[in-house]
């Protein structure tokens, strides 16, 4: 006979009450774990997406991220191939690296002159093979929605656009964009007040054979010397970028093409060097090493290292938002469980008052009485946590297998609803520890009351 078997037997004494208490714990723990699993799925999913597209760290000219997005010429990294080489060869960095790749981002106006339409876009020049390699990063085993860029093996004038851009430029039919019916309806009526030069261009486009024209666009951008520069490009594919605001602006092209557009025949530069690490946990170490490296030979350029959280503020915002909801739900459930178990233990103390008096008369100390009830609560907490855990895992398995989808606000296509309960060990450990902690906390007061009962009064209790 030890304390635990005594505690178990006392719990079994009033099975219905113990079961009701356990049920409250199971429901509470399941709810909080499911939400926590959902939250971690979203955050890991976002992180995976950001790391796939923009890497863990980026090297940029100081000020570019906040002020310089539209002006690549003022913030170009000179000598970027040497920096990339230095990073790849660095003994500290190289084991951590997945991909290091330069990129050039520029703002411009894309026009489908044959349809008489133009819109502003943000074009990214990239090294296709390296960027496609980045899309394979999947440290958390997420369901990845990344589609490889269709630029691999294409000519220099090939571009990929967001489906939003395709819609706006009336390229739906040519690119097979679903749910889009405006194609060809919008041949510009002559006499529309378009600028004369645009009309001339579009007239030229129309004069060419239809099949060749349909997926061609022009991008107008500011060149290095401030003069406008135009490139005629062939859209090979429209990709859904997920976030609508990006989907409506996105153009991807070969780095060399982007550089030609901005720098012409001058020495090409890049606006950022993207660094994707093997593991997110390596970020701090990699960053420290990069900063040391950049402060040396390349110090004169004023380069800085930005992490994906800074580059994608929505990640931190979502994290905080989710954390506040999680905290609120956890608090709510904690309070409910606290009162449920407190009530159960309080009733047990009242029912067993005579027993408490008897034990005290026989020489059990006050601390012994406290321990008696705390052991019971701890056991109840442990059983409740185990059952809640099992229940949450079972329900998460059901949800993950159900194929349930939703479209997050601002996203342009549906995601599978998934909950990462089983894989999120800190979440599991935290919730179980929290639950056991709440159980013990809720038993503290009743246990204290039991221990403080005057023996004589306890024995007289009816």
């Amino acid at each position: 006979m030890n304390f635990w078997s005594l505690a178990l037997r006392n719990l079994l004494r009033n099975r219905r009450r113990s079961l009701a208490t356990l049920l409250a714990m199971v429901v509470g723990l399941t709810a909080i774990l499911l939400f926590g699993g959902y939250r971690s799925n979203i955050l890991y999913g976002m992180q995976t997406g950001f790391v796939q597209y923009s890497g863990h760290l980026q090297i940029q000219r100081r000020g570019y991220f906040l002020d310089g997005g539209d002006n690549p010429t003022a913030y170009g990294i000179a000598d970027y191939p040497r920096i990339v080489e230095a990073i790849r060869r660095d003994a500290v960095l190289s084991p951590m690296l997945a991909v290091v790749t330069p990129t050039l981002q520029l703002g411009g106006v894309a026009g489908n002159f044959s349809a008489g339409i133009s819109r502003s876009v943000v074009a990214t020049g990239l090294v296709v093979e390296e960027r496609n390699r980045m899309l394979q990063w999947n440290e958390y085993g997420m369901v990845s929605y990344a589609q490889p860029l269709a630029l691999a093996g294409t000519g220099e004038d090939a571009v990929v656009v967001g489906t939003g851009v395709a819609r706006k430029l009336k390229l739906c039919a040519a690119l097979g964009v679903p749910d889009c019916s405006q194609e060809d309806a919008a041949r510009p009526a002559d006499g529309v007040s378009a600028p004369a030069d645009i009309l001339t261009l579009s007239a030229q486009e129309r004069a060419q054979p239809a099949a060749a024209v349909r997926n061609r666009i022009e991008i107008l951008a500011a060149g290095a010397r401030g003069a406008p520069n135009v490139a005629s490009l062939s859209v090979v594919r429209a990709n859904n970028l997920g976030v609508k605001a990006i989907d409506d602006m996105y153009v991807a092209m070969h780095l060399s093409q982007a550089q030609k557009l901005v720098y012409g025949t001058a020495r090409p530069e890049a606006t950022a060097i993207i660094i994707q690490l093997r593991h997110t946990t390596q970020m701090a170490a990699a960053r420290a090493r990069l900063e040391a490296l950049l402060a040396g030979e390349f110090g004169w350029q004023g380069l800085e290292v930005l992490d994906f959280q800074t580059l994608n503020p929505i990640y931190g915002q979502t994290d905080e938002f989710m954390a506040s909801i999680f905290g609120f739900i956890a608090l709510l459930i904690g309070v409910i469980v606290l009162f449920t178990i407190g009530n159960t233990m309080g009733t047990a103390v009242t029912e067993r008052t005579v027993e408490i008096g008897t034990l005290r008369a026989m020489g059990l100390r006050r601390a012994g009485i406290r321990r008696l009830f705390l052991c019971e609560a701890l056991l109840l907490g442990a059983i409740g946590s185990a059952a809640g855990l099992a229940c949450a895992l079972a329900v998460s398995g059901l949800i993950n297998g159900s194929g349930w989808t939703w479209t997050p606000p601002g996203y342009s296509y549906a995601y599978l609803v998934l909950v990462r309960v089983g894989q999120d060990v800190p979440l599991l450990a935290g919730c179980v520890a929290g639950m056991v902690g709440v159980t013990v906390a809720s038993a503290l007061w009743p246990a204290r009351r039991a221990a403080k009962l005057p023996i004589v009064d306890a024995l007289r209790h009816v």
Partner: protein
């Protein structure tokens, strides 16, 4: 040395505005190895006095010594340990722990006293034998009759080898036949263990068995009837 020695002990209960003197000015020595009965009408203070002797209540005034040790100033934990070692209790309602078996109920005070497992086993089996319940050792109290439960309680009270056993109306919840058997058993064990039994009772049967009868009235000692001549130790 007297197992229990009281000097000018007083206990007052406060009920709202009125104060009820439950026991007053009690001075009393209980003889070692005696079978002592506290006798008196309802409300006379028997239970209060037994509680004070059993160190589960504290007097408002006076001195109490149990097993030669003054107890009224002992801190709570020390007093708990003291009870575990020196005093056994038998209750009117038996007060066995319902979740423990007969065996475990008798063993419990030995666990509290941190007795080694081998010794615990030996003592529990011997006591269950002595109260005639060796066969029922794995039963729960709920499966036993009132008389059987009180036998378990007696075995439990003697488990640690305490020389002082206190019983508040141990036969009040039993029919007279069973009550008599319980008294006889207590008498027998009291002699075998050379312990001092002090208990309260309305029962004339019980008084007939006693060595000493202490008459209580209105919280005071109204007389002491020593049935058996005091031995040299007194």
């Amino acid at each position: 040395m007297h197992p229990v020695s009281l000097r000018n002990v007083e206990k007052v209960y406060h009920l709202d505005a009125v104060t009820v003197p439950a026991v007053s000015e009690i001075s009393l020595d209980i003889r070692p190895g005696s079978f002592t009965v506290l006798s008196g009408p309802s409300g006379s203070g028997k239970t209060t006095l037994l509680n004070l002797i059993g160190c589960i209540d504290r007097p408002d005034r006076g001195e109490i010594a149990v097993a030669g040790q003054p107890v009224q100033t002992m801190p709570d934990d020390a007093l708990s340990d003291f009870r575990a070692r020196h005093i056994g209790f038998v209750f009117q309602n038996f007060n066995l722990l319902p979740v423990l078996t007969v065996y475990e109920n008798v063993e419990y005070p030995l666990v509290l006293a941190k007795a080694p497992a081998g010794e615990r086993r030996k003592r529990v089996l011997a006591l269950l034998d002595a109260v005639g319940l060796a066969e029922r050792r794995d039963s729960r109290p709920g499966q036993l009759s009132g008389g059987q439960r009180q036998r378990v309680a007696i075995a439990r009270a003697l488990a640690t080898g305490a020389k002082l056993v206190l019983a508040d109306e141990p036969t009040a919840n039993l029919d007279s036949h069973t009550g008599a058997a319980i008294i006889a058993l207590m008498r027998k064990l009291q002699r075998e263990h050379d312990a001092c039994f002090v208990f309260s009772s309305h029962d004339p049967q019980v008084r007939a068995e006693a060595d000493d009868v202490i008459l209580i009235r209105d919280g005071r000692i109204a007389g002491i009837d020593r049935r058996v001549a005091a031995e040299a130790t007194a």
